[in-house]
Amino acid sequence: MIEFRDVWKSFGGHPVLQGIDLRIEPGERFFILGQTGVGKTVLIRLLVGLLRADRGQVWVDGEKVTAFSEAQFMSVRRKCGMVFQFPTLFDSLTVFENLAFALRRHTDLSEEEIAAQVRENLALVHLPGDVAERMPQELSYGMQKRVGLARTIALRPRILLYDEPTTGLDPFTAEQINRLMLEMAEKLSVTSVVVSHDLISMVRVADRVTLLADGRLVEVSRPEQFLHSANPLVRQFVEGRAAPEAAP
C-alpha cells in the first residue's frame, strides 16, 4: 500500500505539490495524469527518496519513509522499482551486465543462475536471449525501454513506478509497453503507479486514475468515469484544451 498524507513540495519557492492526499491499494494499476511539468514525476520520486517532501508523510508498504536516510531508502528501492522516462541503461555495460547489475549486488546467485534469471527477464519483456550480448546503443529506443523494464524487475519488486512509459513512442511500440505493464501486474502481482499524459494508455491499463493540476489532485476515479467527468480541469485535460489565460 502507498499513501501520501498532506504532502507538500516546492522548488525555489515555486509550489509544485500542495497538500497531496492519496492512497493506492496493493495490486492496483494507478495512473497519475497531468500536463507536462505539473509535478507528476516529483510525486513518484518521493516514494523512492530521489526527492524529499517539504511537509507531510509518505508511506510505502506500511513504513513511513518521509524521514528515511539514504541508507534506509536502499531497502525501499529494492521493493519499489522505478522505470524511468528514458531507458537510463548503463551505456558502458552490455545488456546482460545491465540486467545482472542488481542481481550480482543483492543476491547470492551463481553466475549460471544469474544468466538464467537474465534470460527469464528478457523473455518477460519479449526480447530474445541474444540481445543480452549487445550494447544498449545498438538497440532501438523501444527495445531499450523494454530492457530498462527488465532491469527494474530483476529483484522482483512489489511496486513498479513508471515515469511516462509511452512518451515519445510510436503507437505500435506504445501498445507493446501497455501490454507489458498489464503483464507485469498480472505475472509478478505488482502494484503499478504510472505517471503519464497518455489517455489511450490510461484506458488500456488503469484500474483507477487521478489528475494532478495546480499542485493538487483533482479527481480520483475509474478510467471511464474520468473520461466523462464534469470537472472543468478534467474536461480541459481530456479534450486537450489549453488552460484559460489568467486575467491581467
Binding site: 523512492v48 527518496g49 522516462q85
Partner: protein, 274 residues
C-alpha cells in the same frame, strides 16, 4: 558618508557573496571527500570497476606521459645548462636537473597532463550519467552511486597519478640525460655522478608526497564536479570546464603550499628522517 565608504559598501556585497560561495564549495567538496573515504571501507568493493578505471586512467595515459616526460627532461636540461654555463658550473647539471624534476617539474607536469586527459574524462562521464538519470537508476537499484562510481575512480586516479609520476620522472631523467649527451655534448658519467651528490632523499620524498596529494585533489574535484551536475548538455560542458580550472588552481596552490612547508621544515626533517 564619504565617497570611499560608499564605494567599499558597494563592492562589499558581491565580495561577501563570492567568498561565501567559495567557502560553501570547499565545504561541500570536503564532505564529498569524507563520504568517499568512508565508502572505501564499506563492502562490496567494486574491483572490476576499479581495474577498468585504472586502465582508463593509467594505461591509456602512458604514451602522453612518456612523450611529454622525455621532452620536458630535455627542455629542463637545456635551460639549466644555459644558466649553469654562465658560472662555469655545467658539471652540476645532472644533480640540479634531477632535483628540480623530482621536487617540482615532475609531479606538477604529470598532474596537469592528467587533469586534461583524465579529469575532464571522469567529470564528463559522471556528469553525463547524472543528467541522463543513470545515477538515479543506480540508486533505484539499491546501489550507492558513491560506492559504485566514485570510489573506484577516486582510488584509480590517486594510485595511477602516483605511478605515472614515477614513470614520468624516470623518462624525464632519461630524456634530460640523452639531450644533455647528444645535443649539449655533456659527459654522461659526470651527469649521473652528481645526481647522488645534489639530490637529497628529501627531494624524492617531497615529489612523491606531492604526487599523492595531487592525485587525491584531482580525483576529488573531477568526481565532485561530475556528481553535482544538474541540467543538460550545457551543464556537462560547464562541469568539465570547472573541473579543469579548479584542478589546475588546486595543483599549483597545493604545490606552492608544500614547497613553502618543505622549505621551512627541510633542515629539521632531513635531520629527523634521513
Amino acid at each position: 558618508m564619504t565617497v570611499l565608504t560608499r564605494q567599499v559598501q558597494r563592492i562589499r556585497g558581491p565580495i561577501e557573496i563570492g567568498v561565501m560561495a567559495f567557502l560553501r564549495e570547499i565545504g561541500a567538496m570536503a564532505m564529498f571527500l569524507a563520504a568517499t573515504v568512508r565508502h572505501i571501507f564499506k563492502a562490496p568493493f567494486e574491483v572490476q570497476e576499479m581495474i577498468l578505471q585504472m586502465y582508463q586512467v593509467g594505461v591509456r595515459s602512458v604514451p602522453i606521459v612518456l612523450i611529454s616526460g622525455f621532452f620536458v627532461g630535455g627542455v629542463v636540461v637545456i635551460q639549466f645548462n644555459y644558466a649553469l654555463s654562465l658560472f662555469g658550473a655545467e658539471v652540476y647539471l645532472g644533480g640540479i636537473t634531477t632535483s628540480g624534476l623530482l621536487r617540482e617539474v615532475g609531479p606538477v607536469l604529470v598532474a596537469i597532463m592528467i587533469v586534461g586527459r583524465v579529469g575532464a574524462y571522469i567529470t564528463a562521464e559522471l556528469a553525463t550519467m547524472k543528467v541522463t538519470e543513470q545515477v538515479d537508476a543506480i540508486r533505484c537499484l539499491g546501489v550507492n552511486p558513491v560506492q559504485f562510481l566514485v570510489v573506484p575512480r577516486f582510488l584509480a586516479v590517486s594510485a595511477m597519478i602516483f605511478m605515472l609520476t614515477i614513470l614520468g620522472l624516470l623518462v624525464a631523467l632519461l630524456g634530460g640525460a640523452l639531450v644533455g649527451n647528444l645535443i649539449l655534448d655533456i659527459n654522461l658519467s659526470f651527469y649521473f655522478a652528481n645526481i647522488r651528490k645534489l639530490t637529497a632523499a628529501w627531494a624524492l620524498f617531497t615529489g612523491m608526497l606531492k604526487s599523492i596529494l595531487f592525485g587525491i585533489l584531482l580525483a576529488t574535484i573531477a568526481c565532485y564536479q561530475g556528481m553535482k551536475t544538474e541540467g543538460g548538455a550545457e551543464a556537462v560542458g560547464q562541469a568539465v570546464n570547472r573541473c579543469l580550472v579548479h584542478c589546475s588552481i588546486a595543483v599549483f596552490l597545493a604545490d606552492y603550499i608544500i614547497a613553502s612547508l618543505a622549505a621551512l621544515t627541510y633542515g629539521l626533517a632531513e635531520e629527523i628522517i634521513f
